[in-house]
């Protein structure tokens, strides 16, 4: 156990300090191994007990969580059932530094109680199959009482030391960590917003690892001494369709558009082939929840579908009801891959004879446009499984009363399935339900997935015990170290 590691990351949230539970998610503390949650998500996006030893449902709204034995906070105090309740209950206290309305809503707790020293009993207001998944939310870190020495009194392999807002977040090894001694004496995370700048800092030897390395330079840098890491995450780039009006209200045309897009081409051109994987469905292939739906590129089929929809091709241009088939694509600029993706889509569409235009604006403005029916396709990027559970995002995006259903997609069958998914507790049954959900989405092109983003990281030679996590929630474990 020696040495120090410097990680560069695009931005360092200021809200972590001093209380990672506060208001918003405590990603940095979770990523750097300072805090831990009751449940965790593994690298296949399956749920596993983390600080908990086991979780069981004793009634539709009652969950019993048994804690691991012998876990201590950084200041040495023991992790008890009461400590867990003490850590979670302030989140619903308004004005408390840990106050976090979003998580309170996520948990929707009616009450908490202890059953002995090691069992916490959670009572929810309504049945919710996503509850155990919610316990993996980074903001739900279990913390002991803070002190000057341990302002973030977590349980993880690293101890929070200090932070400079927007600039640096520094942790040191917790040599008493229950699973073993961490690999670094000190880890510094520095914020470098611009990926190209971060790449230069890496080359200058100022940082040892870059999270979100520029994809375009990945091949070059990993051909040298550096190691490259790349794996798909659940962040999905997809098109919201205007299902209420315009050409996209016709499922045949939606499907045609989907077939017209060469997703691998997009990944190659926009993400240099490493920054993502083509998406056939909402969840990354091979990971938990993903149905077996491949991304298909078939321009001929696309044209056939257009013809089936009643469009006619004249002079290389598809006409619908006598007018040229035109598709307005909107997107926003805050993520660099959005605009080229839209541009390429435009090119693919025009290749089969559909005229398309691209407008890059702000997320809010674009969202308003699609909601108002002024645009046909809205390219956005969402994390499909914020806590590893598949339900919430799909409900928001596609349920007819979904809060973010700006394309006004409505499908009674899908609504019913999504409702059932939330209320079904058996994992196998749930998987079956969400398989059906994904089949419907694909068959109806309710949204058009394009690719899953891969997190592209680069580290100096010799880093072991590190993997890219599909929800980007974890970086360091006690096993991460530099081999000599």
């Amino acid at each position: 156990q020696e040495g120090s590691l410097t990680i560069s990351v695009g931005f360092i949230s200021e809200s972590e300090i001093p209380d990672p539970r506060a208001s918003y998610n405590g990603w940095m503390s979770n990523q750097t191994g300072v805090t831990e949650t009751l449940m965790g998500l593994d690298y296949d996006m399956k749920l596993y007990p983390r600080l908990a030893e086991a979780i069981e449902q004793s009634a539709p709204t009652t969950w019993r969580v048994t804690l691991r034995e012998g876990v201590t906070f950084h200041d040495g105090s023991a992790l008890t059932a009461q400590a867990v309740i003490d850590s979670i209950s302030p989140m619903s206290e308004e004005g408390h530094p840990a106050s976090n309305a979003r998580i309170v809503k996520l948990l929707d707790l009616a009450g908490m109680s202890t059953d002995g020293d090691r069992v916490v009993v959670f009572e929810t207001n309504s049945p919710n199959a996503a509850f155990p998944w919610s316990l993996s939310e980074p903001g739900l870190a279990i913390l002991g009482a803070p002190s000057d020495a341990f302002p973030i009194n977590g349980t993880g392999p690293y101890i929070f030391r200090d932070a400079v807002p927007n600039q640096e977040y520094r942790v040191e090894a917790n040599s008493d960590y229950r699973l073993g001694v961490p690999g670094f004496e000190e880890v510094r995370v520095v914020g470098i917003a611009n990926p190209s700048s971060a790449a230069l800092a890496f080359e200058a030897g100022e940082v040892d690892m870059v999270i979100n390395y520029p994809e375009a330079d990945f091949a070059r840098i990993s051909a040298g001494e550096a190691q490259g890491f790349s794996a798909p995450t659940s962040r999905l780039y997809f098109y919201t369709v205007n299902a209420a009006s315009g050409p996209m209200s016709n499922p045949l045309i939606r499907k045609a558009v989907s077939f017209a897009i060469d997703r691998n081409g997009v990944v190659d051109a926009v993400l240099s082939g490493v920054g993502g994987v083509a998406a056939g469905t909402v969840f990354p292939a091979g990971k938990n929840w993903a149905a077996d739906i491949a991304a298909e590129y078939d321009p001929a089929k696309a044209e056939a579908l257009l013809a089936e929809a009643g469009a006619v091709k004249t002079g290389g241009q598809w006409m619908l009801d006598g007018a040229p088939l035109e598709i307005d694509i909107v997107t926003y600029s805050s993520r660099a891959a959005l605009s080229p993706t839209a541009e390429i889509t435009q090119a693919f569409l025009s290749a089969i004879g559909i005229k398309a235009s691209v407008k890059v604006g702000e997320w809010g403005a674009s969202n308003d446009q699609i909601a108002a029916g002024e645009a046909d396709l809205f390219l956005q990027a969402w994390v499909a499984t914020p806590q590893g559970d598949p339900g919430s995002v799909l409900e928001a995006l596609l349920k007819s009363d979904g809060g973010s259903n700006s394309g006004r997609y409505a499908n009674a069958e899908l609504d019913k399935l999504l409702e059932a998914g939330r209320l079904t507790f058996d994992q196998d049954k749930r998987e079956a339900i969400y398989d059906d959900v994904q089949q419907i989405i694909a068959a109806d092109a309710a949204l058009i997935p394009v690719f899953h983003v891969s997190q592209v990281n680069v580290a100096k030679a010799g880093l072991t015990g590190y993997q890219v996590h599909p929800t980007e929630t974890y970086w360091l474990t006690h096993e991460t170290k530099l081999a000599e």
Partner: protein, 261 residues
């Protein structure tokens, strides 16, 4: 003076005929050939989406040079008027004008851009509007500064006595004194406008993709800086050469004006 004229003509030709000279469609994707090095087919190579860099540069002249020219001229006009009103119009006009200028200077361009984009919708006009709206203050300050000192000159007193209308005094007495510093500021504004157009393009208005524009070509190329450096070098060179040429001709213009004096 002659070199300035030649340059101006060259730029004008570039704006008007640049697009016609392009060997390829500037927006045609060619993913298999992405990031290819210069070749006989693609003289300057292709970009990340496989588009011909040379064609994009040639087409981009209209956006980058043309718009920058318009924007810097509008700023010049607005700013000079504002500055002269401040210098000439007496204490109250001066006070009001300068407070307005301060307000605009303090007002972040970004906010203006976001808002104008939303209110007017993306498009060339809102781009011109936003950039002019946030670009005139330099001219105003410079015009006022020099104007204040010209105001005390005997010939201005004489013109006032003669009862010359204010605009005419501004035109004939203030402007010649202002021209040298204004040309310097103008060339600066031109350069800023070229880069500003691309900065605002990133906020989602003005030149919309896939229309080529030098500034965003430059920005887009940044991630390829190490692996395909040429991609960043071409638009960079073009911007640098143009801005440099414009700066130098601004100085030549200034000297020519001063010599006439």
């Amino acid at each position: 003076m002659r070199s300035v004229l030649i340059l101006a003509v060259f730029f004008a030709l570039l704006i008007v005929f640049g697009a016609a000279l392009a060997p390829h469609d500037p927006n045609a994707l060619n993913i298999p050939k992405r990031l290819s090095p210069p070749s006989t087919e693609f003289l300057l190579g292709t970009d990340a989406l496989g588009r011909d860099v040379l064609s994009r540069l040639l087409h981009g002249a209209r956006w980058s040079l043309g718009l920058a020219f318009v924007v810097s001229l509008i700023s010049l006009a607005i700013g000079t008027c504002a500055g002269l009103i401040a210098a000439q119009g007496g204490k109250i006009a001066d006070w009001v004008m300068m407070r307005v200028t301060d307000t605009f200077l303090a007002f972040p361009e970004l906010v203006a851009a976001v808002v104008i984009a939303g209110l007017l919708g993306a498009g060339t006009w809102s781009l011109i509007f936003a950039l002019s709206l946030t670009g005139w203050m330099r001219f105003a300050r410079v015009a006022r500064g020099t104007g204040l000192s010209v105001k005390t000159r005997g010939y201005v007193v004489q013109a006032q006595l003669a009862g010359m209308p204010a605009w005419s005094i501004a035109r004939w007495h203030y402007l010649p004194a202002l021209l040298p510093s204004l040309t310097v500021v103008w060339t600066g504004a031109f350069a800023r406008a070229i880069l500003g157009i691309s900065a605002l393009g990133f906020l989602g208005f003005g030149v919309q993709p896939p229309n080529p524009e030098w500034g965003s070509m430059l920005l887009d190329a940044r991630v390829h800086m190490r692996s395909t450096p040429l991609l960043m070098i071409w638009p960079g060179l073009v911007v640098v050469t143009c801005v440099l040429a414009i700066n130098l001709s601004g100085d030549a213009l200034r000297d020519a004006i001063a010599k006439d004096a």
